[in-house]
Subunit: 120 residues, 2 copies
């Protein structure tokens, strides 16, 4: 498959790291990065002025806290936070997610506090 | 959750229809539609001049045939066909996929032969 990207096995990628709240790029799509991430505990309240925020729960349970109320995601459930809407992901136990964001988007909505994203 | 989209349970959406090769819109993200689709048999060889093509296998097995060779996707595996690259999905038995395409993209790469996409 010279010149073409490889297929991505999400479980294999998730087995490569253990840290939480540190999204890893696994593929690219139309100027967006596709990530897997492990989460546990509470993230920070933030919003993205220029992009929607895509969450697909792969394992565990994650709550997307919104000012209007909580959205609980089980495996096989997805939620799109519209751009500009404040949210704060939270997981009592470890959960794994697929995320999609435009290339270069700071995960906290703020360059100064964002986590560097690496390709795995 | 007035004004916000609802979460999407992919299995529940897939239970709403039975036809093959007829993607159903389940969410929107940054000018893209997010689909679930059931596939069985062989699609048509095509390419998209203006967009990458995102495939995530949810159940079953699907082969993304490429001129350079085949990519076999099992559940939890994804593949992005770069824009302009000819491909032809094929599944010996029924498989279910998550797809992402820019709004209005014809699934066959050609308006005249494309399947109408409805929101479920």
């Amino acid at each position: 498959m010279s010149g073409l990207p490889a297929k991505v096995n999400l479980s294999e990628k998730l087995a490569l790291f253990s840290e939480h709240w540190s999204p890893k790029i696994v593929a690219e799509f139309n100027g967006h990065d596709i990530f897997v991430v492990k989460v546990k505990g509470e993230f920070v309240w933030h919003s993205h002025a220029e992009t929607d925020d895509f969450f697909l729960c792969l394992s565990g349970q994650v709550t997307i806290q919104l000012r209007e109320g909580d959205v609980l995601l089980n495996p096989g459930e997805l939620f799109v936070v519209p751009k500009g809407v404040e949210h704060c992901p939270m997981a009592a136990e470890e959960a794994c997610l697929l995320l999609i964001e435009p290339e270069g988007t700071p995960n906290t909505g703020n360059e100064a506090t964002a986590t560097a994203k690496i390709r795995i």
